[in-house]
Assembly symmetry: C2
Homo-oligomer: 240 residues x 2
């Protein structure tokens, strides 16, 4: 059958510079902490203008691949990546209408169910203490005016729970979804945080008892009611 040819676009010099540096990172030739030559040198060895090099570096910086630093011993240093970019991606996809709120909350619920099960098996005393401390903090903030703070503490609970799986990727995935959720929460505002806190204390009891099914049931119920409430709120707002 006839192959569908790729549209091919790669004519920009700055993209070629970008690609070449990326390849050196992928191949392991450039590693975290290494320093790239100065822009002027790069420009010369690539045979392009400094502007082209800068655009490439700007792209790399945006992806967390390099971080730029001015000054005498500055330069373009290979970074360590940025887990926050995953959340940014989702945020953008949502803002641009490529994913729906429903899909996000549904996925989050499934993810959190899994996380709860794993956390039940793996959570250390330290993890449980951190979760408890978080709920305590939330309770302290009940009377606070700044509801952004309150929301952030509640969001953090989910991230702490993910951390109890002791799996870095899971922490990142959950963190990414919660980043988007934070936007909603800030926009939607005013939850019944007192009820949430009570639910979380019950949840933590189940978790401490290593009763996975009961913990999942508690979590599911809470999240689903929250989802319904968000959905109602967002309906009243202009869709973008």
């Amino acid at each position: 059958m006839s192959q569908a040819f790729a549209p091919l676009k790669r004519n920009r010099l700055s993209d070629q510079v970008l690609t070449q540096i990326q390849e050196r990172i992928a191949s392991g030739e450039l590693r975290s902490g290494d320093k790239l030559p100065p822009e002027r040198e790069l420009a010369e060895s690539f045979g392009v203008s400094r502007g082209a090099v800068r655009e490439a570096l700007r792209s790399l910086e945006r992806t967390g691949l390099v971080s730029l630093q001015a000054g005498a011993h500055g330069g373009a240093f290979i970074g360590q990546g940025d887990p926050g970019l995953i959340g940014d991606s989702f945020r953008n996809l949502y803002q641009l209408g490529s994913v729906s709120l429903d899909a996000l909350t549904e996925a989050r619920l499934w993810l959190e169910t899994t996380i709860t099960r794993i956390a039940c098996a793996r959570a250390t005393d330290k993890d449980l203490a951190a979760l408890t401390a978080n709920v305590d903090e939330a309770e302290r903030l009940l009377l606070s005016k700044r509801y952004e703070d309150k929301i952030d503490v509640h969001i953090e609970f989910h991230n702490l729970l993910a951390r109890a799986t002791h799996n870095a990727v899971m922490v990142m995935l959950m963190g990414a979804l919660m980043d988007v959720m934070r936007d909603f929460a800030h926009a939607a505002g005013g939850e019944r945080h007192d009820l949430t806190i009570k639910a979380r204390r019950r949840f933590l009891a189940k978790l401490s008892a290593r009763d996975a099914d009961a913990a999942v049931a508690e979590m599911t119920e809470h999240l689903e009611s929250l989802h319904v409430r968000y959905r109602d709120r967002m309906k009243e707002r202009p869709q973008r």
Copy 2:
């Protein structure tokens, strides 16, 4: 208590331009498909040089927020985001040593378990047909020389399974993890694909019968053996 002040760095003009455009997208003022003013105009209204504007646009382009297009009716168009960026983020995090192979495969296994359960409940005949067709294709390719092709077909199986959840976010998450897995597979090479195909046929039978527990068992066993094999292979290679 004393607040820990943020380090603050935002002095670059190009970053301020970037931020302002991003905010207009976030606020919904700029939507998918809209066109930004020409670079020269932007530069004038921001009161900065064209170079600064270009660097900002380059950043936006990298994130899939805008796509640049030369020519008479060209310009910077607001895009729709790029789901592939999530996979890129993980790839970078791995390459730069911020996440381990173990964490990735473990998370993938958990994710795939969830996906299997959901797919069992939601997969349509069309989904099942697509999965079957994929395995057929894999069988046809058994004798092929190009092992990259064979691997890609095998990878695609997991993406198709994720699609059977009918949740776009889940598809993206799985797709992201599989992107990284593809790199490994290409590097590690030569699997016993004939065995994999047999396992998948058994798996599909369980899935068609809507027997979630059995399907999960089949999937888990296969993935775990795969994981062990990868790990052994990568040990022989220089770690980066």
